[in-house]
């Protein structure tokens, strides 16, 4: 019987020409995760950010207690490192998706981590708007929805685009961490091939893919924010 030597076990680097077949589906999975999560995060995090801003003193419905409760909730969501959060909510994830592995199992903790982060980014973007915007909305006879639409969301669009960019990059990073619990995607490849099998080629390829992805997202986000800005 042939006993595998250490070098054989360590040195089984995937040949470069086989990498695309391995990487492309994983890359697709990463974007599927990030895409689904970002849709949910923009909707729910956006609503939460608007609620945070509008329950504050300068907002449309100032209410100290609601604002404090919301703020506390958002801080709680942001205080756990993603790895801890992911492990802690496994029962909840299983209850929602029926599984603890795969893309959908990763979407749950990523969304839960992403919503409070995005809510704060939205609140900060709105805080940077001129304080008179609310008064303008009111004296021009706007309803609450018209005021939120015209004087808050529309005016803050460049900053909101930057917030989406920042959040997307965070989610790419979280998707890689989610790979450790078998979520699939680039992170999963990095863990199983690069970490567990010392496959240097896959490791390098995943690092390169992540760097290029983050650069591309940031570049695109900056371009969009700039296009939305007005003189």
């Amino acid at each position: 019987m042939r006993i595998p030597t250490e070098s054989a076990a360590v040195g089984t680097d995937t040949p470069w020409n086989e990498l695309p077949a391995l990487m492309l589906p994983a890359y697709g999975q990463t974007w599927a995760m990030v895409g689904i999560v970002m849709v949910l995060v923009i909707i729910f995090g956006g609503i939460m950010g608007l609620a945070l801003f509008n329950t504050d003193r300068q907002g449309l419905f100032p209410h100290d207690k609601s604002h404090a409760a919301l703020s506390w909730f958002v801080n709680m969501g942001r205080s756990l490192p993603f790895l801890v959060l992911m492990a802690a909510i496994i029962p909840f994830t299983k209850w929602v998706t029926g599984t603890t592995i795969g893309i959908w199992a990763a979407v749950v903790p990523m969304t839960i981590a992403g919503i409070p982060f995005f809510a704060r980014l939205v609140q900060n973007a709105l805080n940077d708007l001129p304080k008179e915007n609310l008064a303008v909305g009111l004296v021009t006879g706007g309803s609450p929805l018209q005021i939120i639409g015209a004087t808050q969301i529309r005016e803050a669009l460049p900053a909101l685009a930057s917030a989406v960019t920042l959040n997307t990059i965070s989610m790419v990073e979280y998707s890689a961490i989610a790979g450790t619990i078998g979520a699939g995607g680039i992170g999963y490849l990095a863990v199983t091939y690069g970490y567990q099998r010392f496959d240097m080629n896959v490791m390098l390829a995943t690092i390169l893919a992540l760097i290029l992805t983050v650069q591309a997202v940031q570049f695109l986000g900056d371009r969009i924010a700039r296009a939305l800005a007005r003189p």
């Binding site: 915007n133 004296v139 006879g141 309803s143 005016e155 003189p231």
Partner: protein
């Protein structure tokens, strides 16, 4: 006509209740400009927020043609807000909207149909002289132009009252003049009631018909601009046209403060005192301003070769109200005032 009746506003703070407005009464007639002036902390901003219905007064009424707007809330408040157009300090235009979109904002909020909105916006931009700038963004305009867009936006819903909250603060003199000329024309052409909340006495002097001096949450003085300027005891009048401290120059007998009471005072009155009455006149200070209702002025003169009582009577005949500046003279003139008037 806008009537503000016994307007009170207080805030509850950790230190207890703070009363900011303590019973404000103000009438603003259509076609007039009323300036509300006062030091910082007098309650100008709170009054402005109450009038523009951004804050609910603690008690009191804001009556626009008899209807109390201070008690409204919800949809009714949204609808009635159209009676009051507000111009903000620094114009407060929305930066991501074009000039036309900013002006159209109140119309769109009210659901005005598209082509009607376009016509109205074009008409308003014409009115403020910015028809060529419809598709520009506020960032491409000068401060004065931005403020004129703000005025167009405030006019969009055909309000009956225009509230200008420090609208010319921070503008250069030329832009200030443009904005004031525009407000002046709105008063005349549209018959708008305009409330001008400001700390700039230059602005008040130029354009106001009536002035309310706010101090410590109360109206300390309120009256016609001309009356306040002509009243030697008026604090507001002396702020509007300030004079140097009372000093009788060497070689002169006494000093008089002379206020322009009539609208058409002979501008050569100083030389006439010399030629017709043999007086020697020293011009010590003062200011004379053109106003849409005639010249406003407050001048301090030193006199010799004429009795104070006679000088006062002569000036009164020319539409000028003269008051001795030294207390002693004031008392002696008061004693004999009636007799002199009869004599002249």
């Amino acid at each position: 006509m806008i009537e503000i009746r016994q307007l009170h506003k207080h805030y509850e703070t950790a230190q207890g209740r703070v009363e900011v407005l303590k019973g404000i009464d103000l009438d603003v007639q259509s076609g007039t400009i009323t300036a509300v002036v006062g030091p910082s902390g007098a309650g100008k901003s709170t009054l402005s927020h109450c009038i523009s219905l951004l804050e609910k007064p603690s008690s009191g009424q804001i009556l626009v043609e008899g209807k109390d707007l201070s008690v409204l809330s919800g949809k009714e408040l949204c609808a009635e807000r159209r009676a009051i157009g507000t111009i903000f300090q620094n114009s407060a235009l929305l930066r991501r909207m074009t000039v036309a979109e900013n002006v159209a904002l109140p119309l769109r909020n009210l659901g005005v149909v598209h082509h009607e909105m376009e016509n109205r916006v074009a008409e308003l931009l014409n009115r403020v002289g910015l028809a060529d700038w419809a598709n520009s963004y506020p960032g491409e305009l000068s401060g004065g132009q931005r403020q004129r867009v703000g005025i167009a936006r405030a006019l969009a819903l055909r309000p009956r009252l225009l509230l200008s909250d420090e609208a010319t603060s921070g503008l250069d003199p030329e832009s200030t003049t443009q904005v004031l000329e525009l407000l002046d024309s709105l008063r005349t052409d549209l018959g708008l009631a305009i409330i001008l909340i400001t700390h700039e006495m230059d602005v008040v002097r130029h354009i106001a018909d009536r002035v309310a001096q706010l101090d410590g949450g109360r109206i300390a003085e309120y009256g016609e601009l001309r009356g306040l300027v002509a009243d030697p005891g008026s604090v507001t009048g002396s702020k509007l046209l300030p004079l140097r401290p009372d000093l009788v120059p060497a070689g002169y007998d006494f000093t008089l403060t002379v206020a322009y009471q009539a609208a058409n005072v002979d501008p050569a009155w100083i030389s006439r005192l010399g030629t017709e009455h043999g007086a020697r006149v020293a011009l010590l200070g003062g200011s004379v301003e053109a106003h849409h209702e005639g010249t406003l002025g407050r001048v301090e003169i030193g006199l010799a070769g004429i009795a104070a009582e006679r000088a006062i009577a002569v000036l009164a005949g020319w539409g000028l109200r003269a008051t001795p500046r030294s207390q002693q003279l004031l008392a002696s003139v008061a004693d004999r005032a009636e007799r002199i008037e009869v004599a002249v």
